[in-house]
């Protein structure tokens, strides 16, 4: 199991039954593969689809049915389409149970930076600022460190995506919960020690007693997910 699969399978346990969930581009899209059995979620794509599904076989794609990354997707029975204003009304209006987003940095206050690295090509924030401002829960799915440098830092050095404190940070090493009283280490990845996590974290991380090992959603080949996907 590689780091991305580990992160995706841990994040998948955050999916609640009968909820609306937005998955960001990249690593977060992997979460859809590991919807736990018995959990039914509708995946929203901010370009205007609720209930998108797996990409159809080659030659059967619909040019009007794409996700927010522009890739072809399918649609599940019960799917619907929305214009952009309605799609973002759902996002901003608190109708989205959870968004899962990639991250460049999270700081001690739980603020996320994930849209811009000054001095490089500027891509734009797309829907990220609205998603973080509006989703009921914001889960950041990212590597714990990039090229040896911690991505969990004392203070953001990159432009913030929102002032809001994110709900949970899931990395290849740990599950970290930002609280009003700083970052708390909730879980560690299989085989990873608390010391290793602390050494790879650039911000104060509170350890409360025994830190349990991460649980992971089952591999889909082993279980029958009933997701709306």
């Amino acid at each position: 199991m590689d780091a991305k699969e580990l992160i995706a399978r841990r994040v998948a346990l955050e999916l609640h039954d009968w909820t609306l969930v937005n998955l960001g581009i990249g690593l977060p899209t992997l979460v859809a593969r590991y919807v736990p059995p018995g959990i039914r979620v509708a995946f929203q794509s901010e370009n205007g689809i609720i209930g998108f599904g797996a990409r159809p076989p080659e030659g059967m794609e619909d040019p009007a049915l794409v996700d927010a990354g522009g890739g072809f997707v399918g649609a599940v029975p019960g799917a619907c389409s929305l214009d952009s204003a309605t799609s973002f009304a759902l996002i901003r209006g608190g109708h989205l149970d959870m968004t899962v987003l990639g991250g460049l940095q999270v700081d001690a206050r739980g603020r996320l930076a994930n849209w811009m690295v000054p001095g490089t090509m500027v891509a734009g924030m797309g829907g990220a600022m609205d998603l973080v401002a509006g989703a009921r829960r914001v889960v950041v799915a990212m590597q714990h460190a990039a090229r040896g440098r911690p991505k969990i830092v004392r203070e953001l050095t990159l432009p913030a995506t929102a002032a809001r404190r994110v709900t949970l940070v899931v990395t290849d090493l740990a599950v970290v919960e930002p609280t009003g009283d700083g970052l708390v280490l909730r879980e560690r990845a299989p085989g990873v020690t608390v010391e290793q996590i602390l050494a790879t974290t650039g911000a104060p991380l509170r350890v409360e007693g025994e830190v349990p090992e991460m649980r992971l959603a089952p591999d889909p080949s082993a279980g029958a997910g009933q997701a709306l996907r």
Partner: protein, 217 residues
């Protein structure tokens, strides 16, 4: 029955320097034939308000490639290296707007509202130079409405009254833009007789559409 115009005629209606809203999300739901005609007529100095500038060679990317655009208001230009390069070289001015804020500013422009109060962007660089208004203990940015000279809309079906439908993710910004411009030009995939579109399926009323581009030949 109203009559349709050719894409080349639509491009002639749009003067150099015009401010355009163009529907589409990564070129899905973008009026490609009108864009091709604008490129062919050598339009210059356009302001484009759109979600993104697609990729080189597709949708709005064709306008960027051909040097038609002076200014872009968009949420994302990361898929188009040509837009990024022209921005760094100073050839194109880019204003980045969070996607939901862009949609709502356009909606406000079309709905006659004086602005939008949104929590998106509070505490970020997006808030720089903007009024922050506190209401019921929560902070909001005051974002101004957006309007344009022309809205270039891609629809699925149009009828003889110019009522429009959209398909799946090709709707995106098109329905809101159809209310926010002085002149609305719609490019449909199909044109069908009056009555073929049930009233409840109409998403943009023909009353809002000034010109319809004739079907593909």
């Amino acid at each position: 029955m109203r009559s349709a115009i050719k894409a080349t005629e639509a491009a002639r209606l749009i003067p150099d320097g015009a401010r355009l809203m163009i529907g589409g999300f990564l070129a899905v739901g973008t009026p490609e034939r009108v864009i091709d005609a604008l490129v062919a007529r050598g339009a210059r100095g356009l302001t484009v308000i759109a979600n993104d500038t697609a990729r080189p060679g597709t949708g709005i990317g064709k306008l960027i490639d051909a040097g038609c655009v002076a200014r872009v208001v968009a949420s994302h230009i990361g898929t188009n290296p040509a837009t990024q390069r022209k921005m760094l070289e100073g050839e194109i001015e880019v204003e980045l707007v969070p996607q939901g804020t862009l949609a709502e500013r356009i909606r406000a422009g079309g709905a006659g509202l004086g602005g939008v109060l949104t929590p998106t962007g509070v505490g970020t660089v997006v808030a720089e130079g903007k009024r922050v208004i506190e209401l019921n203990g929560r902070e909001y940015l005051l974002e101004p409405p957006l309007r344009a000279d022309f809205a270039l809309i891609r629809a699925h079906e149009a009828d003889y009254f110019f009522n429009l439908t959209y398909r799946l993710a090709a709707a995106n910004f098109n329905p809101v833009m159809a209310l926010a411009a002085e002149c609305v030009i719609a490019e449909p995939d199909e044109i069908v007789p009056l009555g073929a579109i049930p009233p409840d399926a109409v998403r943009t009323s023909g009353a809002l559409v000034h010109h319809l581009v004739e079907r593909r030949h």
